[in-house]
């Protein structure tokens, strides 16, 4: 599960409580692609998730106003959004405490019959 995918999830399940296996891959950088993604991102969620996984590095906690013009910044965002993947771990809903497993990189968001 990439952190871009994680960022699209509802507020119910944003937390990544435990990641027992994280992988870093190489993904081709496309500055325009990253620029266009940034307005869709919940920035604080991305920062917190990256931090939990130990991949925050020097990504700023606040989005700089002129981000489109900084390739250096865009590359950092690219790395965190697309190159860091949780292979094994759990997503935890902060309200209910319900945990959703991530297995072989695939989060399972199905609720059990008694939960629906």
């Amino acid at each position: 599960m990439k952190l871009l995918t994680h960022n699209m999830l509802t507020s119910h399940v944003k937390g990544v409580t435990k990641a027992t296996e994280v992988k870093v891959t190489d993904v081709d950088f496309n500055s325009e692609f990253v620029s266009r993604m940034i307005p869709k991102i919940e920035w604080s969620v991305l920062v917190e998730a990256a931090d939990t996984l130990g991949h925050l590095n020097d990504l700023p906690r606040d989005l700089p106003p002129d981000y489109e013009s900084s390739e250096d910044f865009l590359r950092k965002v690219h790395h965190v959004l697309l190159e860091v993947e949780v292979l094994e771990g759990n997503l935890k809903c902060p309200e209910s405490g319900r945990e959703f497993p991530i297995t072989k990189g695939v989060p399972n968001m199905l609720l059990n019959e008694d939960e629906v």
Partner: protein
Amino acid sequence: MDCFPLCRMENEAIHLEKKHVHSVYEKTAPYLSDLRCKAWPRVRQFLLDQEPGSLIADIGCGTGKYLDVNGQIYNLGCDYCSPLAEVARKNGHEVLVCDNLCLPFRDQIFNAVISIGVIHHFSMKERRIRAIREMARTMVPGGLIMIYVWALEQKHRRFEKQDVFVPWNKDSIKRNYSNSIKYLMLKAETQMNKYSFPIGKVLNCIVHW
């Protein structure tokens, strides 16, 4: 999450879908990955027409054949069937396992959504509408959904009624499988237009399989 079954009828519908759709896909998932299914041209074109940097969801993505059509967009696949999602993941795609009726995504996040060969597996009208509304919820205003379903109206064959079992094409898989899967044939012209959604009108009607 606010996803509650309506009544006893819906519990029966859920049971039907579990028995005749989900369990069939789970059993046949390993063989589906052997089929070199082609991406349909109109779906391909729809995806290629999306602006670079768009966020697109394929709800009911199966083995993920549409997830690498356009490398300029972020393609996210979802399927109810874990074995199928696993195949898609092995093919290098970003996927999650979830329920079309209860998508785990925030509101107004996707620029476009595709639903190819999915809606006809819901055995109650209310569930089909809910599935479409749920997809609409996740879309930015002005975004487009492309929905493909089996149509009752077909050029080369007749279906006696809407609610039918259709056997797998045994020639296209190596093993002698006698599974059949349940489809609800939607009357393309009349039914889809009758579903009124606050988000917009049906732009085009579904074509046959």
